[in-house]
């Protein structure tokens, strides 16, 4: 069915089909007027006669012209050879126009049966060529308009598809990045466990449990949109404990989190890559080690987070395009736009990443957030 006649509405067009059809028919009013004038004056039929013939005639033709939609769809403009395009539509125009002229003659004949319009059919007969020409032109115009409409529809659909696929790709990428576990970290931890088995079996077991908890939490948190800071901190606590076993005295950790900030919501695994960076690019590069400082506070409706680490002054300038930082920046931008900000500061022996984002609290306090918390702690491997 022609889109004007269906109840299904095209994307983003809130109008109802009936009103669109009305609009279309309204556009035929000037055409009807012109044709009436041509029949009335130059052809000398008189206003009354002309109106009675032309109005029903145009009303019929308005619907006939919609049939161009089918031939346009059947012969797409990009793929059909121009010759065939021309022949198809010319033949259709000629046939439709001839038919129209016959209908006009029929109307004139029927009217002439009424006493008041006697002889109208004879008066009308010489006007057949004019009507044919008008019919031919109108139908051609309809074909052209339909091609334009189809083209617009197609490009709009293509746009929608492109947008959809880019959103999808971004989503997938974020998901993949969120669930990313650094293989280096994993293998090093396993090596530490393997060493501990003969030195201190109990510590080896503790480390296994820490690692298992960390992996579970990473997988669990990655599936959520937002988590309370408290949960992210629990994950970081495991992560840092594992790194502490590996790096020993070289790693010092200093965590300062305001009680109020604990319940603020943030995208999961936002801080984890930053803390991991602080260790890989900061502490692990210092033979004597250093400190990772983590702080969080709430003020002015914003949650301010900062991850700070000792850095090697001789190390190459901090990785601006580093994957961890880029990932965090993108995620903040995607979720909060201009409401969140991220800043990196590189001083001689210090590297700091500061983030501030809208301090949303858990949607419904206490009860639901507690029950939401429970499944995250369950095994989901």
């Amino acid at each position: 069915m022609h889109p004007l006649l269906t109840r299904e509405r095209a994307a983003n067009i809130p109008e109802r089909p009936t009103s669109r059809l009305g609009l279309y028919l309204l556009s035929w009013a000037p055409i009807t007027a012109i044709l009436t004038y041509l029949m009335a004056k130059p052809a000398g039929l008189g206003w009354w006669n002309a109106t009675l013939v032309v109005v029903p005639l145009c009303l019929i033709y308005a619907f006939v012209c919609l049939s161009a939609w089918y031939s346009c769809k059947a012969a797409p403009i990009q793929t059909t050879p121009p010759k065939r395009l021309f022949v198809t539509h010319t033949v259709a125009a000629v046939l439709v126009s001839l038919l129209w002229v016959e209908v006009a003659k029929l109307i004139a004949y029927l009217l002439s049966q009424v006493h008041a319009f006697q002889g109208l059919d004879q008066k009308f007969a010489p006007q057949a060529p004019l009507l044919f020409a008008a019919g031919f032109m109108l139908y051609s115009l309809a074909v052209a308009s339909h091609y334009v409409i189809l083209e617009i529809e197609q490009s709009r659909a293509a746009q929608a598809r492109a947008l959809e696929s880019s959103v999808f790709a971004r989503d997938a990428e974020l998901k993949a990045l969120k669930a990313q576990i650094n293989p280096h970290f994993l293998f090093n931890s396993l090596n530490s466990i393997s060493a501990l088995t003969s030195i201190d079996a109990a510590r080896a077991r503790d480390m296994c449990i820490l690692l298992a908890d960390f992996l579970r939490m990473t997988l669990g948190l990655g599936e959520k949109e937002l988590v309370p800071l408290r949960e992210e901190l629990e994950l970081l606590q495991r992560f840092l404990a594992i790194e502490k076993v590996r790096l020993g005295e070289r790693l010092h950790v200093d965590v300062h989190v305001e009680a109020q900030a604990q319940t603020c919501m943030l995208p999961p695994l936002l801080l984890q890559p930053l803390v991991e960076n602080a260790i890989i690019h900061g502490i692990a590069n210092l033979p004597a080690g250093g400190t990772v400082r983590l702080s969080a506070e709430c003020s002015g409706g914003q949650l301010h987070l900062s991850v700070e680490n000792s850095a090697d002054p001789d190390a190459p300038p901090p990785r601006k395009g580093g994957r961890g930082l880029t990932n965090v920046r993108q995620r903040l931008e995607a979720r909060y736009g201009k409401e969140a900000s991220m800043k990196t500061t590189a001083e001689e022996e210090l590297f700091r990443v500061s983030i501030s984002l809208p301090a949303g609290m858990a949607d419904a306090p206490a009860q639901p957030s507690e029950s939401e918390l429970a499944p995250a702690k369950e095994v989901r491997l």
């Binding site: 293989p183 280096h184 994993l186 293998f187 090093n188 396993l190 090596n191 530490s192 466990i193 393997s194 060493a195 501990l196 003969s198 030195i199 076993v245 590996r246 790096l247 020993g248 692990a284 590069n285 210092l286 033979p287 090697d312 001789d314 190390a315 190459p316 300038p317």
Partner: protein, 252 residues
């Protein structure tokens, strides 16, 4: 067993626990004596000079000096068994150059195999491939700092602090903050490792840090001088001038 076949091994890893694993695995090999343990590359370079080990277990990821930096500094005579947790580029380089390596966590079986091969290498005095470090660098990544050894002392020069390099026979003299450091390397191989967007070979014997060039002055017929920000004057050949110009055009 003759005295020469005794192996003196050096264990280099920044993690205490990782060294412990190696120590434990070596326990069942009385013919291998642990010459020393090092927690970073600096200690390793020093220990190599002082202890003269004939086998090194070398961790790849270490603070400041990586395992590859250590290899570059100590030369290629001593067989090395690399130990790494996960590094795709390094692993590929090891495969390409048929160098033995162990993956963490290190298992007994794999360890024994590596040790057997190393023993053969020690007996044959087979040198390590010199191109290994370059092959292990991820593609498209240029040198970020130059490592230089002077006896047992190691100096690191971040490339941003390198003013220019001058070829001197088999060595290059690296100028940084008014001091010059000699390193055994050809100027061509240094040029290849440096980022061509930051360093230009202005002369057969000179590579200059583009950011240090203050101006270019004509000097005699066909040749020019580059005046650096600290006043140093370096000769610029015709080809060198063309390279400088094209880099300048790229930047504008």
């Amino acid at each position: 067993m003759p005295a020469q076949s005794k192996i003196r091994a050096l264990l280099v890893d920044d993690e205490d626990l990782a060294r412990h694993v190696l120590r434990e695995l070596l326990k069942s090999h009385p013919e291998v004596e642990i010459a020393g343990e090092c927690a970073n590359g600096f200690e390793a370079v020093k220990a190599v000079a002082e202890q003269r080990p004939n086998l090194i277990f070398l961790d790849v990821q270490m603070p400041k000096l990586t395992g590859f930096d250590v290899l570059e500094l100590i030369g290629t005579e001593i067989p090395v068994i690399f130990v790494t947790a996960y590094d795709q580029h390094a692993m590929r380089a090891f495969e390409v150059h048929a160098v033995d390596y162990l993956l963490k966590p290190v298992g007994r079986e794999r360890f024994e195999a590596a040790l057997t091969r190393a023993r053969e290498r020690v007996a044959e005095k087979k040198p390590m491939p010199a191109e290994l470090a370059a092959a292990a660098r991820p593609p498209q990544q240029f040198l970020e700092r130059v490592v230089i050894r002077d006896g047992t002392r190691v100096t690191l020069i971040p490339v941003s602090k390198l003013d220019y390099a001058e070829a001197q026979d088999d060595y290059v003299a690296l100028a940084s903050h008014g001091a010059k450091h000699l390193k055994q390397q050809t100027i061509a191989s240094l040029e290849a490792a440096l980022d061509p967007a930051r360093f230009v070979r202005i002369h057969r014997s000179y590579i200059v840090n583009f950011e240090r060039v203050a101006r270019i002055e004509p000097y005699g017929k066909d040749s020019r001088l580059a005046i650096l920000t600290d006043g140093t004057r370096l000769p610029v050949s015709r080809a060198g001038y063309a390279r400088l110009k094209s880099l300048l055009d790229d930047r504008v």
